[in-house]
Symmetry: C2
């Protein structure tokens, strides 16, 4: 019904988390800080981000299974199978991750985020301010 579109990652996550099976499900469930490392061609887009900014990080969950349409929420078999659009499962047709973060350091093309459940190497799609009306 519609043409496909091409996502071009603007950077990658650098994190001590290596394995989706053991990573926290959400940033507030014990996730470590992580560096967001951007490609040099996006320096201008990054240039106004400062420590203390609260941002929404968008990632591409490249380990997800895009064919899954129903899951047991939180992998709990006691919970009934649920359509993925009613869950936050990473297995879904277009697996875009949304991560609220606070920026701790801004060092050229690298930003340090306070806590992030995404694993090392996860492609970064976008950053947007959480609070600004812009």
């Amino acid at each position: 019904m519609a043409a496909d579109f091409t996502l071009t990652p603007v950077g990658r996550v650098a994190s001590p988390l290596r394995d989706t099976a053991t990573a926290p499900r959400q940033g507030d469930e014990g996730a470590p800080s992580a560096w967001l490392v951007f490609d040099s061609s996006y320096a201008a887009a990054l240039s106004d981000i400062r420590p203390g900014d609260t941002m929404l990080l968008l990632t591409w969950l490249d380990r997800a299974d895009r064919t899954v349409q129903a899951v047991h929420p939180r992998d709990d078999p006691a919970r009934p199978l649920t359509g993925v659009f009613s869950t936050r499962s990473s297995d879904r047709p277009n697996p875009i991750g949304l991560h609220p973060v606070t920026i701790l350091e801004a060092d050229g093309l690298r930003l340090r985020a306070d806590r992030l459940e995404a694993v090392d190497g996860t492609p970064i799609l976008d950053l947007k301010p959480l609070l600004s009306p812009s």
Copy 2:
């Protein structure tokens, strides 16, 4: 630095809004209700959405200029040029729209959202619950 990825839209917005130049910038700035019309192959992913659900709708802003890296926020020339990652501009490298909506009706492959600033024909990428911890 990273491979590209392919987004496959799961549906489209059906809205009386036709023109990005006159559409509201945010749903809470006078946007009308709209139908979210899904491809039949995603029926299972949709099956647990009910009227009253509060969801985050993700769209692909296909009229955006992906080469823009700095903008005057809200197109106000009095505001200084700002890197797009510090703004909610739709012109940005990966123009993914985020729209909080409440579902008013669920009719098979069509959901009616209470208010939506996206224009008619905008491709739908995903729906996620806003409040569930799943």
